[in-house]
Structure formats: C-alpha cells, structure tokens
Symmetry: C2
Subunit: 183 residues, 2 copies
C-alpha cells in the first residue's frame, strides 16, 4: 500500500534548522519563488467541500492544480490533477481570465520562497521543504511516500525525524487557511 504522510511545523529560527540539517550532511536546494493563486468556485464552497483550485507559478513553470476532497481521513489521500500551462504565452494570465469568465473568483495568493531538501531517516528518503511564506512565516514540511510501510510506521518515521530535528508541534492547517486566518 502506498502512503503519503505529510507533516508541517512552524520554524522560528531557520538558520538553526539549516545548521542541524548541515550537521546531518543535508544541503538545501536554492530558493524557488512560488506563487499560488487560489480560486473560489461559482456554486460550491471549497472550504466546506474540502477542495482547492489554484494556479501555481514556480520559478519559470506554471500549473493549474485541483485537489479533491480527502478520500480517507487517516492517510490524507486525495485526488490531485495538475495541468501544465504555457509560461511563455502568458498561460497563467490566460487561465485566470478563463476562470474569471466562468465565474470563479480569486480568494488569495500564497507567496513563498521554498528550499527543498532530501533527508535519509530509518532507511527511508524523506522529502523536505523549508518555506518562508509571506504574511504567515517560516515552516518546514516533511513528506514520506512509502510503499513498504504501514501507515503507522510511516507516521512514526516522520515523527521521529521531526523529533531529531527539534521541530515543535505540527500544524494541520494549509498555508491558505493560515493566511486567511491572519486577515
């Protein structure tokens, strides 16, 4: 069974975390500017249906991402559709115009600098992202995609690693929810 376990933690002191990662031989990718423009549906309340629609601009690339409702509360598995847009043709702007014409309205834009890394723990490769989110603050996300673990084991791997990296309590809300909560 394939599990994706993801956990997010607020980071007060990014430099200290980077030093702890360096001590384990982990280096971070250069920061990538990411901008996620979220949209509201003309007839559905995405906050209630647990869906999301956004246009992501990540460095030079653009995507439309749709996230369906969680299929299963335990694993947070959800349907995700991602379509590439043409960045050179103003694809993101054109798609935003199409959404507007169809009655979708912009909700908020989450802007961040993301530095990705990969860290080995208990025989597993964990994907990490150190994010500096405008108006929300610093966070680190840890994600484990595992075929060979039970859900409980995958969670334990992530929890142990978070402990070793001296991360605080986890944050369950999305960046969009956190941003909207500050307004």
């Amino acid at each position: 069974m394939r599990y994706e376990v993801e956990q997010k933690h607020r980071v007060g002191d990014a430099a200290a975390l980077i030093a702890r990662l360096a001590a384990r031989g982990v280096t971070l990718e250069p920061p990538l500017e990411q901008s996620d423009e979220y949209f509201a549906h003309p007839a559905r309340d995405f906050a209630k249906t647990d869906e999301a629609l956004r246009i992501r601009t990540s460095g030079e690339k653009c995507f439309v991402t749709y996230k369906g409702p969680k299929l299963d509360a335990a694993t947070k598995t959800r349907r995700e559709l991602e379509l590439p847009l043409h960045p050179d043709d103003g694809g993101a702007r054109q798609f935003a115009e199409l959404l507007a014409a169809l009655g979708f309205t912009p909700v908020a834009t989450v802007r961040k600098r993301r530095r990705q890394f990969r860290i080995r723990h208990a025989g597993h490769d964990v994907e990490g992202s150190l994010d500096d989110v405008d108006g929300v603050g610093g966070f680190v996300e840890l994600e484990l995609v595992a075929d060979d673990l039970s859900l409980d084991e995958a969670r334990r791997v992530i929890r142990e690693l978070a402990g070793e990296l001296e991360l605080g309590p986890s944050e369950r809300r999305s960046y969009l929810e956190l941003l909207l909560a500050t307004n």
Copy 2:
C-alpha cells in the same frame, strides 16, 4: 472600426461548390479533422447566457475555447478566449478531467472535416470553410474581417459572394444547436 461578419450556408452538393470555386481559381486546403467537445456550466445555463465552453482538437492541436455572450447583436462581436493545451501530454483529456471535477458536464461533441480556403471578392479577402459535420451535414462558412468597411458594406460583400457561389439561404444556428436539434 473592425468588423467580423460571418455567414453559414447549407451545402447540398459539395462537389458542385468545389467546381465553382475551382472556376474562380480557388483551391481548398486538405481536410482537417476537428472535434469540439462542449460543456455545460455547473451553475449557469450557457444556452440562456449565450456562452460556450469547448475543447477543440484540430488535427494535432488542442485548445480550450470560451465564447462570451454577444456584446452587440448587429456585429455578433463576442469575447473569445483560446488557450493552447499540450496534445502530447494528453492535455485535452486532462482538461476534460479538471472540468468534470469542477462540476462541468459534457453536452455533445461536434465532429467535422473542415477544408479551408481563401477567396478574393470586391477587393477583400474572404475566409471560407467547407465543413462536413457528422449528424448535421455539409455547410460552407464565409467570414470577412474588415477594418475599412462599414458593417453594411461588409455584409453586402459577403451576401454578393454567397449569391455568386449560388449558396442558398443562410443558417444562423451553431453546429452545436443544429446537432442538439436532431436528437
């Protein structure tokens, strides 16, 4: 003022029309397979709002096209947004999945073989398309885009040309409307 005047006529005998075009030195492009999948909006009745949303596959190319309501009954001017999709990545299928996830439902698919041509009349280049539409029949469309004519003059050019080509009365309904009317 820029006018787009478009007129469509049913063609009973395509071979006879092709011969009349040939007599004027006009040759047709090779036929292009076009497939237009139309969608209904989750909260708006596009038939009433005079809008349309479709995925067009034309030969090797794919587009999403949105047509807004006619801004002006006289010139049939309407807002049109066209976004290219990635045909090699299954862009059309992915976009159809995204629309389905957002509550858009397929209405019908208009399939046709289109042969384009260009014909000079009264000092103007008129764009033509000879279409063989599945379930609907043969039609020819004539379109004039003119900056230097009044609307009445542009209409007169198209009407005169239609007369010289011995076309019958014009058809105002779209191929989608014609297809739905046969069901």
